[in-house]
Symmetry: C2
Subunit: 322 residues, 2 copies
């Protein structure tokens, strides 16, 4: 357990408490859906980043918690909507909200959380904070639309793939760090560095997530292996594999992938080949490069204990197994 | 054409232009869905109320337009999500967005508009404005959840029905007026009066909308008559009808309504009886009472030309046919 994990263990109860307090006033008609999502756990990476960034930049008040929670609520809202889009049945080992409460309830519960997140941010009286989170939501939804537009598109380029994951994942992680820096009243170039840190960490985070979909068994990840490819999502390991696939195999795969007709045997074979031929490792290597960039951004932050913790948050991320 | 209609005709081009400008920067993947909704028309009641309220309270700047547009964008976002929930195929005489662009796209396009509306409000640097619109979105989504919870519930009370329409419709119309008053820097009691005006106008507006669903032919309303009852929504005309329905008829209706098995004949008979027995008129009378309350709230506003226009906006609303 490194110091970041220790720090997380200390802060998590306060984050959880704040999440419970802030959602407790919601209508009893929406609360079960909201609590189902919020209490399903998760790493709380985003709120931890908000708190750590604020602390690293000299903010010591309790005001970091509601702000951190608003970032997490925004994240939870996008997950609620995202699981509907993906028709995902399982997240973090539990049934997704829309399978339990229905699509209609879940769309509206997502809207309620988006509104709640904004209402909390508005309490800070700092329009830059509201703008930061609104832009992040805009980028997240736009990234997801881009992803949908390229479903079952075997010609997806690496550049477009990076654009998708930057939008759908990294921009909100960037906003988690940016909002912490804004709360601390940091100078513009320091806020910029916090953004760069979050953006590169966010890209790395999603790259590894996409690898885990190929390598991590359901007992560990909480969702079935190969979900992305079944949903028609082309991610980095598959982009690498396709670059190296013999023409005949590629034709067979392309047809089955486009027609949403991948046999369990072909799917198993793809999952196996991605690992055996090192494409999962290559994708993790690319994640490591982004983590390096994230680490470099920290040079612009003061040498506070929390800056060291932010660096430690990067450690092991390229090799994480869940 | 009364003075309010003349004023609307003058302001509408600027509102439309602002809506186009503010959405033009959106991703080309989401823009068609957004434009489909925004350019489908509509009365632009909410942005007109924002502008008029601000002007009535002494604000003369161009800053009223983006704020008014953010209210309209929030409204458009809720319509996008709402049409998915209602499985509505037609709105304002045109196919709904989700039937053309798919549910996934439409959920995300709604999220994009919510984010855009917030980002625009954040530009004003006034946290009270952000709070106002966030609370309105929270109320709107909560009202819709309440409505869903009471679908096909023949025991829905008048009180609960009013709670539903206040949440799903009136709170955003209230926010339209409140935001105009906040922009003008009005005193708290004047902001309160603007809120009361919007709230009562909003309740009346939805009451009449619910009547029109029973009385207005598709050529006029742009959607099929009897949509609410088919979707299992109990609205005021039906609440009145059920209060007066003989026991045997009520049993037959209740069973068919609960089972989503209303025959076209029974539906036609219900629509006919609501009009013939005066329940549509009673519902319009109740709307007129709320419009009276709205008018009384205007007494707290200065005697500006725009205050007179706000009063004229109420005229004829109880008897509107579309």
């Amino acid at each position: 357990m490194n110091a970041f994990t220790q720090y997380s263990a200390k802060e998590l109860p306060r984050i959880e408490q704040c999440l419970r307090e802030r959602t407790s006033g919601l209508s009893p008609y929406v609360l079960p859906t909201v609590l189902h999502t919020i209490e399903a756990g998760g790493k709380r990476l985003r709120p931890l980043l908000t708190i750590l960034t604020a602390r690293a930049l000299g903010y010591s008040g309790d005001g970091a918690y509601p702000l951190a929670c608003s970032v997490e609520l925004l994240h939870a809202a996008t997950l609620l909507h995202d699981d509907i889009l993906d028709k995902a049945g399982i997240r973090r080992g539990k049934p997704t909200a829309h399978t339990l409460y229905g699509t209609d309830h879940t769309i509206l519960a997502g809207d309620v959380l988006l509104a709640l997140a904004n209402a909390i941010v508005a309490e800070y009286g700092d329009p830059a904070l509201t703008a930061c989170l609104s832009q992040a939501l805009l980028a997240t939804a736009t990234g997801e639309i881009l992803e949908i537009a390229h479903i079952r598109d075997v010609s997806l380029t690496l550049g477009k793939y990076l654009e998708i994951i930057t939008g759908k994942t990294a921009c909100l992680i960037q906003a988690a760090c940016q909002s912490g820096a804004l709360l601390a009243g940091a100078a513009p170039q320091v806020v910029r560095a916090a953004c760069d840190f979050g953006l590169n960490l966010g890209i790395a985070f999603q790259l590894v997530d996409d690898v885990l979909d190929y390598t991590s068994p359901q007992e560990v990840s909480g969702k079935p292996k190969g979900s992305d490819i079944r949903e028609g999502k082309l991610t980095l390991p598959l982009i690498f594999l396709l670059e190296n696939m013999p023409g005949r195999d590629k034709e067979t795969f392309t047809k089955a992938f486009k027609d949403n007709a991948l046999s369990p045997e072909l799917l198993d074979s793809i999952l196996g080949t991605v690992v055996r031929d090192g494409h999962a490792t290559r994708a993790r290597d690319m994640a490591a490069q982004y983590l390096d960039k994230a680490k470099q951004s920290l040079a612009a932050l003061p040498e506070a204990p929390e800056t060291i913790l932010l660096a430690q948050a990067l450690e092991g991320m390229a090799n994480r197994e869940k």
